[in-house]
Symmetry: C2
Subunit: 108 residues, 2 copies
DNA sequence: TAGAATACCTTGCAATACAAGATATAAAAA
DNA sequence: TTTTTATATCTTGTATTGCAAGGTATTCTA
């Protein structure tokens, strides 16, 4: 297993959380979200992001609006809903607990 | 998505790490590993653990020995290999980086 | 002798992330 | 004008993972 796979395996399961974190501050379109994730050293590709955003939208966590762009095709700006904010709070708690669990396991 | 699913989704990807953490301290058989995970609030079931241990053994990260038990059937004690310890170091680094990335995303 | 407790393992399913490729718009270059 | 480049969106197929459910085997106890 290459080092890359180690990191990519660990990313599984927290991407939903990451998306909600980003959109909790301001609306964004997919490519911009990918750029933000990269800036935080979370490498994610398009084939991962698009289905994920659609899933979260279908769950009512996100909504979106189209906006024209002078740089190319129109952009789909996603923004978080009230339900999404509740979910984010739950995820904050879950993340804290996970970090705590790993801490217990790692340091005896 | 129920609160349980939020936590279970986040657990994905760190179970390999958890197993190596536990076995880095002392050898153990599957049921004992599950008990340790439960003690750290990481709920995992047999159907998850057995295939996972077999995978890690096939990757050369673990090895095992049989030991008779007076309480029932013989136990398969797994222990970490040198390769497993290297892997654990990589996972420590990956975990630290992941926590760091989430921190960046969450706190602006 | 039957049941309970302990331990191992497998099968089939659903969900996730990724690689690869398809489609569409607008600007720039030929 | 036509082609290329850049920017966007999205889909399809695949591998992996974790889980629910069920199956097998050993030892002790009632």
């Amino acid at each position: 297993m290459a080092e890359d796979n180690v990191r990519s395996q660990m990313r599984k399961g927290v991407l939903d959380y990451c998306i909600l974190c980003i959109l909790s501050r301001k609306e964004a379109y997919a490519s911009a979200i990918i750029d933000e994730l990269k800036a935080a050293d979370m490498i994610v590709v398009e084939g991962t992001i698009y289905p994920l955003l659609i899933r979260q939208k279908n769950q009512g966590l996100l909504s979106y609006r189209w906006e024209e762009s002078t740089q190319g095709p129109p952009r789909k700006y996603y923004f978080i809903t009230e339900k999404g904010r509740s979910q984010l709070e739950e995820m904050d708690a879950a993340w804290t607990e996970l970090v705590d669990s790993i801490g217990k396991l790692r340091n005896q």
